[in-house]
């Protein structure tokens, strides 16, 4: 298939502005800013059906449409790129920023124009050193060319773009925590409503979108909503950067039509399991998604289809569980992560996650008791949607509740045998 987001990528570094433009880059931004009204850009993105690639899958055009527009709208308005990629098992935005930073810059220009934003920030995680230096260079090149700053492409549109490098905390990937962090406050999530589109950074209208989401925008503007829709297998629109890690033969990333089936990803692209190990399950889209199993290999990896079988597409980067890995140990590792990275604001999260981590530790150390699995299930319910300000705790509940269903025998064996059978 034709690669779109990764078309310019090559082994020896990222294309500079000239190389990016030679391959057709910045034509869509020029067309949008000089030839289209913001409302036209918005309607094209809406028509494309583009959904957020950061995990939640919210329709991008709809998110933009909540921003107040016109002469009476408050200014400055902000456009923020969530590049705080810290979901365990997820490494897709790293590639997009390292290997084609101008594609992201172009996407930011078009998207900011659509909501008449004045200032944009890229909120980047600390560990992505190479991405930081390549983005800095791309931003400087775009300013030099007159694609950022005042009178962009000779129009009346003005946009400043800044790179903010964070200092490492998972919760900052939650959009309202990210906004607090950008304001120089502790990164606790905010209560919603008001939503950022109405009151975001410094109380002004703000859009927060994921890196991969915004990298799609130049292609939607350049080639049209109909093209975008047919680029997917199942009609949800576009391609997806899928990834896999764990004991597969070829861990990595692949840009494929959205809706490529799970089994095809694992077999044809990840190369199947390594010799001597068997597939047991997979977290389809990062640590905070429900396990799928061998029964789900035919499922199309798009938003609707994965949701139908009780999980989420999430970030589309899969973590594969094999038979040499203890599922209880794996869930314990995940819950330790969530317990550590909880911001400490909501009780079900800061207290509940530590109880869960302690119970899983007991199981792993041979101290599990009858009743522990019911206790874990009840915690998973309390961590679930509706009890906390943000989605960290509900996300943490997903691998736990699904592991209790799919790997029940393994949990029970830990209690029965008073030990972890994998050790």
């Amino acid at each position: 298939m034709e690669r779109v987001l990764t078309a310019n990528m090559r082994a020896d570094g990222a294309p500079d502005r000239q190389a990016y433009e030679k391959a057709g880059g910045y034509a869509a931004a020029r067309q949008a800013v000089t030839g289209l009204a913001p409302a036209d850009v918005l309607s094209r993105v809406k028509a494309s059906g583009l959904r957020g690639r950061g995990g939640a899958g919210f329709p991008t055009g709809q998110k933009w449409s909540f921003v107040p527009m016109g002469a009476d709208a408050p200014h400055p308005k902000y456009f923020v790129i969530n590049a705080d990629e810290m979901e365990p098992g997820t490494f897709k935005d790293r590639l997009l920023m390292e290997a084609d930073p101008h594609q992201l810059v172009e996407g930011i220009i078009i998207s900011s124009y659509a909501v008449e934003a004045d200032v944009a920030y890229i909120f980047l995680r600390w560990a992505y050193k190479l991405a930081a230096s390549r983005l800095e260079r791309a931003i400087a090149e775009a300013y030099e060319a007159g694609y950022l700053g005042g009178r962009i492409f000779g129009s009346g549109y003005h946009l400043d773009l800044h790179l903010h490098v964070s200092a490492g905390r998972y919760i900052c990937g939650e959009e309202t925590a990210l906004l607090n962090a950008l304001e120089g406050k502790r990164g606790n999530p905010r209560s919603k409503p008001p939503f950022p589109a109405i009151s975001g950074l410094w109380g002004k209208p703000t859009v927060v979108n994921n890196v991969e989401t915004i990298c799609n925008v130049p292609h939607i503007i350049g080639r049209g909503a109909d093209w975008f829709k047919q680029a997917s297998r199942t009609g949800e629109g576009g391609t997806k950067l899928y990834g896999a890690s764990g004991r597969v033969k070829r861990p990595g990333l692949w840009e494929l039509p959205l809706g490529t089936p799970l089994g095809e990803l694992l077999e044809e692209h990840a190369g199947g399991m390594q010799d001597g190990v068997r597939f047991r399950g997979v977290l389809p889209g990062g640590a905070s998604t429900d396990f799928l199993t061998g029964d789900h290999l035919d499922v199309a990896m798009d938003f609707e289809s994965v949701q139908k079988v009780g999980s989420r597409l999430g970030t589309g980067t899969m973590i594969v569980l094999d038979d040499r890995t203890c599922p209880v140990g794996m869930v314990r590792n995940l819950e330790d992560f969530f317990a550590q990275e909880s911001c400490g604001w909501c009780t079900p999260c800061w207290a509940g996650l530590h109880w869960v981590a302690d119970l899983l530790c007991d199981l792993e150390e041979g101290r599990g008791e009858a009743g522990d699995l019911d206790r874990l299930a009840s915690h998973a319910r309390l961590l679930g949607p509706g009890h906390t300000y943000c989605a960290l705790a509900p996300g943490a509940a997903e691998p736990l509740q699904s592991a209790l269903t799919h790997f029940r025998d393994d949990f029970e064996r830990h209690i029965r045998e008073h030990r972890c059978p994998w050790r």
């Binding site: 365990p88 304001e183 120089g184 406050k185 502790r186 410094w202």
Partner: protein, 154 residues
Amino acid sequence: MLTDEERREIETEMARYPTRQAVCVDALKIVQHHRGWVSDEGLQDIAALLDMTLDELDAVASFYNLIFRRPVGRHVVLVCNSVSCWMLGADRLRDACAEASGAAVGGTSHDGRFTLLPIVCLGACDRAPAMMIGNDLHGNVDPAHVAGLLERYR
């Protein structure tokens, strides 16, 4: 006292944000870049420069995994302990790092050369197990080769 250089770098960042407080993460990183960590005194100086209270600033500083409020060695070794690396031997890699560096997990070697810390997912899951030494990412690390790897960092 902030050095002239630190102050200049912090003031450069101010152009990118509408408030002084928003500069605080950059300011903490600038001081840490020059001194290795952020002392109470450094914290006070940054707070004064940015019109923040000490509590406001320490609430931010202590929030982040990678702002160090205690001294660290010349090279900080960060071993990923999240799920994909855990499955592929992160614990053995961590133990090999401790042995080769002379630093216990969470501690600093006697010669002040290495500090060894666990870190959450580095976003290099296709190259598990992964670690960082200073600003350098290392993937597919064989615990048997850790000693040789650390040798490059004097």
